[in-house]
């Protein structure tokens, strides 16, 4: 069953498609599962200044599952970090928006990611720096479910708990599909909340496409421990053929006709 989306979620997804226009490739499924997570963060939770991307007291968002970057680029465009036309240069020879996000190239990108398992450790360093210097910014790290196969994620989880980093939230895009197939088949993560709890974290779960629930949980008061929010999502959400379909994890060779159909499916009647 297709995930039901409101107009804003469809509009953001159309910006994701903008990136595909030129490149004709991208981790579409992985981007579409996290649109609402990023939307909730940027609309209702994060503290930031698009005209001053390195503002010292901004909240930090690290997209550790860097292959989902088309969704991040869409939100950064939406918030005015850079112009929508930049999406036309996605993966281009002289473009600034790569197939994985780079901190030094893209305003609003806090860490260069793409190789999985790096973002949470970087986030621990940032959150620890805030704690040591008594700054009140928060750090959010979005990780993929398949990414949690990486041992470094769990090294970082131990460390965050040790330091009591209650200013750190890890958000897991639990779409239950990794590149080869289902997460249960490739390397099962369950019992997932219990794993985080046993590592010294508070663990919550929610529907990762329910913007209201996401916003409430993410903006809610922090406790004493770092927090994991396990977001149940649908890979490829919003495009019927892509949903739950590992073949759309990294989609390439998209034809003009396919692209047009995707825009129309996402509500662009003028595409």
């Amino acid at each position: 069953m297709t995930v039901r989306l409101d107009n804003r979620s469809r509009a953001l997804r159309r910006m994701v498609l903008d990136g595909l226009k030129q490149a004709r490739r991208g981790h579409l499924g992985a981007a579409l599962s996290l649109v609402e997570i990023l939307r909730a963060l940027y609309d209702d939770v994060l503290r930031y200044r698009p005209d001053d991307p390195l503002w010292a007291d901004r909240d930090r968002l690290i997209l550790s599952k860097g292959h989902g970057c088309l969704a991040l680029y869409a939100l950064l465009v939406d918030k005015g970090y850079f112009d929508r036309s930049e999406l036309g240069g996605f993966c281009a020879l002289d473009g600034t928006l790569g197939g994985h996000p780079e901190r030094k190239k893209v305003p609003g990108v806090e860490a260069t990611t793409g190789s999985l398992g790096h973002g949470l450790s970087i986030g621990v360093g940032m959150a620890l720096a805030a704690q040591l210097r008594q700054r009140d910014y928060r750090v959010f790290v979005v990780v993929g479910d398949g990414e949690c196969n990486e041992g470094a994620v769990w090294e970082a989880a131990l460390s965050a708990a040790k330091h009591g980093l209650n200013n750190l939230t890890v958000i897991i895009d639990y779409n239950k599909q990794q590149s080869y197939g289902s997460t249960t088949e490739v390397c099962d993560l369950e019992p997932f909340p219990e794993k985080w709890q046993s590592f010294g974290w508070d663990a919550l779960s929610c529907d990762g496409h329910d913007v209201t629930a996401l916003s409430q949980l993410l903006a809610g008061a922090v406790g004493e421990r770092p927090r994991a929010l396990i977001c149940h999502t649908v890979k490829g959400a919003g495009i019927a053929e892509a949903e739950h379909n590992p073949a759309w994890h990294h989609k390439n060779k998209i034809s003009d006709e396919q692209l047009l159909a995707l825009y129309q499916e996402l509500g662009d009647l003028h595409a």
């Binding site: 860490a111 398992g117 450790s121 360093g125 620890l128 460390s159």
Partner: protein, 314 residues
């Protein structure tokens, strides 16, 4: 050298509040003074090098200058990708202090021997590599690490290594080579780390045989002091490089690439560890000698280069 290095981290921490020390699971008592005086800037994070380096990157992105310390083989191999992507790509001021590089941990076997670190790190854009010869050189170089842009790997020797740089004519400068004896020899040894002492001993052996061996020491392996190396090699008839590292990818490779591309072609030989895992344990010095690295073997190699040259002339 190790003690001097850590003492200087403490001094830097006293002088600059950006300095933060990050260990993995070091020996009991490590930097107790720093821990007592600045507990918030002393972190001991556990046996998790990949995480430790990533975390250090996050600290550096937030304004700190982290000095990360663990055994050289672990701080280079176990977190190779974090070094490349989290630290070098981001051009962050993370300092990586590798204990016991080369064959310092000879008795502990190949798991603890860092004999490929220079090769790995040389190939990382933005990385600076320091391999001082002794505590005195370390003392001169460490203050220069504080404000250096980008990451630095500091390759440590055993500790209490003999002081061999006292005759150097200039102070150690990051990125520059230094002459450790007369610069006018017909043979040239280019060294890094503790092989400087080995070369100076070889020079004494060769002096008795009528060959003057000049020792150009490179406490910085990357970036290479190309100008100084080329000038020195142009004036020499035979050149050897000496390193406590595989002959693949380290100092010798770097110098060979430089010389050949510049058209400077003296008789040349790389002296280092063979392309093989060390078979045997023993002391560092004994294992080095077994693998062909000693003052005597350096002197022998230089002599052979000369013999070859003379035969060719005849």
């Amino acid at each position: 050298m190790r003690k001097t290095c850590l003492d200087l981290v403490y001094q830097l921490a006293q002088a600059d509040e950006r300095v933060i020390f990050v260990g993995s699971d070091l020996g009991v008592g490590t930097l107790d003074e720093l821990k007592a005086e600045f507990p918030e800037r002393f972190l001991m994070e556990g046996v998790s090098e990949a995480h430790v380096v990533g975390m250090a990157a996050g600290l550096a992105m937030s304004g700190y200058v982290p000095y990360v310390n663990t055994i050289a083989s672990f701080i280079t191999r176990r977190c190779l990708e974090q070094l490349i992507l989290d630290v070098c790509l981001e051009q962050l001021p993370v300092r990586l202090i590798g204990n016991g590089a080369g064959l310092v941990y000879a008795p502990l076997g190949p798991t603890h021997q860092a004999t490929d670190d220079l090769a790995h790190l040389r190939a990382m854009p933005e990385m600076t590599i320091l391999a001082p010869a002794d505590a005195e050189e370390m003392r001169q170089l460490m203050p220069q690490t504080l404000d250096h842009a980008g990451p630095i790997y500091i390759r440590l020797a055993k500790g209490y290594d003999p002081i061999v740089t006292s005759e150097a004519t200039e102070r150690a400068v990051l990125g520059r080579g230094r002459w450790l004896n007369a610069s006018s020899g017909e043979a040239l040894a280019i060294t890094t780390g503790v092989t400087a002492g080995m070369a100076l001993d070889a020079a004494k052996i060769l002096s008795d045989k009528g060959i003057k061996l000049s020792v150009l020491h490179l406490p910085t392996v990357k970036p290479l002091d190309e100008e100084m190396i080329l000038a020195a090699a142009r004036g020499a008839q035979a050149v050897v490089t000496i390193e406590e590292h595989s002959v693949i990818g380290g100092l010798g490779s770097a110098v060979a690439e430089l010389l050949l591309e510049a058209g400077v072609t003296p008789r040349f030989r790389r002296l280092g560890l063979p392309d093989a895992f060390a078979d045997g344990y023993g002391s560092q010095r004994a294992l080095l000698a077994k693998l062909g690295l000693s003052a005597a073997s350096v002197a022998d190699a230089v002599q052979k280069l000369f013999a070859h040259r003379r035969m060719k002339v005849v």
